[in-house]
């Protein structure tokens, strides 16, 4: 599969604030770990896109709204090219979507819930990587 080929040839970079993802892929892939929020991940991805990296996975989750999970992992191309306007459009829209959600839902998360959020983020990433 296309996704897997990119992954195996080292053509991608993962930007994540999920330490489970970092631990799982740090030896096999270029992983940039962000000590910060979901929004911090989005902003770092935007910076990278502006440097010429291409967005490979969608920055928004599907069922989990941005204010429902603290964790996010996004895959971008490892190589830089000319500015990719599709990527710019998607990341800017995603940051706008993120900002309109109420953030007070993520207070008092138990360890179990935090682990579940990390697991969901990890499995969605794995499903993108087809592994």
């Amino acid at each position: 599969m296309f996704a897997l080929v990119i992954f195996l040839t080292g053509g991608c970079m993962i930007i994540t604030n999920n330490d489970w993802v970092y631990q799982k892929f740090k030896d096999s892939c270029n992983v940039l770990f962000i000590k910060g929020s979901y929004r911090d991940v989005l902003v770092k991805v935007r910076d990278k896109i502006q440097e010429g990296h291409e967005l490979l996975t969608h920055p928004l989750s599907s069922s989990l709204k941005p204010n429902e999970t603290p964790y996010k992992s996004i895959i971008i191309s490892e190589n830089k090219g000319t500015l990719n306007f599709d990527s710019v459009y998607i990341i800017e829209n995603s940051i706008m979507s993120y900002d309109k959600f109420n953030k007070n839902k993520l207070i008092n998360l138990t360890d179990k819930i935090i682990e579940d959020f990390k697991l969901i983020d990890l499995t969605v990433l794995e499903s993108a990587l087809d592994i």
């Binding site: 996704a3 995603s94 969605v124 499903s127």
Partner: protein, 426 residues
């Protein structure tokens, strides 16, 4: 392909010594249902409860809703590739217990969602408050992984629905409807003057707890393809999507897809309903490109004049929705998209995470960010403690008296993107 769908109306549900249908009442032997659930060793205990329209009952967190059906005549059985063999379904005769449903509940992950109130203001938002529900409350064994729990619960729902559906096998339906899809050539000859319309059904396919299965195949592993509309009525597509209550398509929605029913109702009158294109909603952008390319290609290949596109979920599927719309419009085919909105609590924010000028015919299922108040109910079926961490709830959303302040997105089916709800805008 032709299917006769026979409805046996159910107006009440009761526990009894023998499971049967009599005088519009569904009698259920509780112990037999428990034993079906406990056949799966992933469950250590199981309880079964009833929830009828008008009762002061709150069901939460709801995972899936399934309508009991049985294949009376014709190849295959309900839920092919999942419970029954991978036979092509959608032809012959199928009986339905119309007005009854199996509802699965469970705490698969810590954060949860899915409320069905059987009375009060919350009941107005969900179609499932109008059904006579058999609710399964299943306790997993200790240490069961989330994905195994999800699968076990999903299958418990199917098996119990099939058990109840069997009760309808030898009954005479109250109403029989016939649905038929001719071959493309036959259809064209029958209605040469009518506009040809297909339905593009988008299926959630994002990984753990966000999946949809077609004849047992995880939709994320499939290219965009075609299916006869009556195949859905026999359970060819089932939901494995446990998150996002308001805009997920439950198995009940797939069985009773309102777009398909409405297109059949107009077939031969105002339009020629050609068939259903099913496509996925994957995480990888290249997958989105590929799948939407195929949707457009198949729509063009079918020679249709228009398509209706329905979505599932919010966020990155908005990108699939817009890609499908844009690429199909670019082929000279008119589109109407059905979606829902996350437009902020006051409804003033941008509704979708993506947009395009070609998406100029849009049906909304409502604003999922709208804040609602749900009064306390006399009885909670499922797990009450999850209200605070339910998606769409927020810190402090569960009040001491049992009432809940939350966004509309907590209610199962409230902003359904097939249009199986009451909310919309004109």
């Amino acid at each position: 392909m032709k299917l006769e769908l026979g409805s046996i109306f159910i107006k009440d549900i009761q526990f009894a010594a023998e499971s049967k249908v009599e005088n519009e009442t569904l009698y259920v032997n509780k112990e037999e249902v428990r034993q079906i659930i406990l056949e799966d060793q992933n469950f250590k205990s199981a309880d079964v409860e009833l929830a009828k329209p008008g009762e002061s009952i709150r069901i939460m967190p709801v995972k899936d809703v399934i309508e009991p059906r049985v294949k009376v005549q014709g190849p295959g059985g309900i839920f092919p590739g999942m419970v029954n063999k991978v036979e092509t379904v959608g032809s012959g005769k199928t009986n339905v217990l119309k007005g009854a449903a199996v509802v699965t509940t469970g705490k698969i992950v810590g954060f949860q969602e899915g409320i069905i109130d059987m009375t009060g203001p919350g009941a107005e938002y969900t179609p499932f408050s109008q059904l006579n529900n058999l609710v399964l409350v299943c306790e997993p064994i200790d240490g069961l992984k989330q994905h195994e729990h999800e699968k076990a619960l999903r299958f418990a729902g199917y098996k119990v629905a099939i058990y109840l559906g069997e009760l309808a096998r030898n009954l005479t339906p109250d109403v029989v409807e016939t649905f038929e899809t001719p071959s493309i050539i036959e259809g064209f000859k029958m209605y040469p003057e009518l506009p040809r319309v297909a339905y593009v059904l988008m299926l959630q396919s994002q990984g753990l707890m966000h999946d949809t299965y077609v004849y047992g195949v995880d939709a994320k592993q499939s290219l965009t393809t075609m299916i006869y509309p009556t195949e859905l009525m026999d359970g060819a597509i089932v939901s494995g999507n446990c998150v996002s209550a308001c805009d997920k398509n439950t198995t009940y929605h797939h069985l009773n897809n309102p777009v398909i029913h409405d297109l059949f109702a107009e077939h031969g009158k105002t339009l020629n309903f050609v068939g259903v294109i099913i496509t996925n909603e994957n995480v990888y952008l290249a997958d989105k490109e590929r799948s939407s390319n195929w949707s457009a290609k198949l729509a063009e290949f079918l020679g249709v004049d228009g398509v209706i596109i329905s979505q599932e979920g919010f966020g990155n599927p908005d990108t699939d929705l817009i890609m499908n719309c844009k690429k199909i419009e670019a082929k000279g085919i008119k589109t109407v998209i059905i979606t829902d909105e996350y437009a902020g609590r006051d409804g003033s924010s941008q509704s979708l995470a993506d947009a395009d000028a070609s998406a100029d015919a849009v049906v909304t299922g409502g604003n999922a960010n709208e804040v609602i108040e749900l009064p306390p109910m006399d009885k909670i079926v499922g797990y009450a403690d999850v209200a605070d961490i339910i998606a769409g709830g927020f810190d402090g959303s569960l009040h001491a008296d049992g009432s809940i302040t939350a966004e509309l997105q907590v209610i199962t089916g409230a902003t359904n993107e097939m249009g199986f709800n009451k909310l919309s805008a004109r």
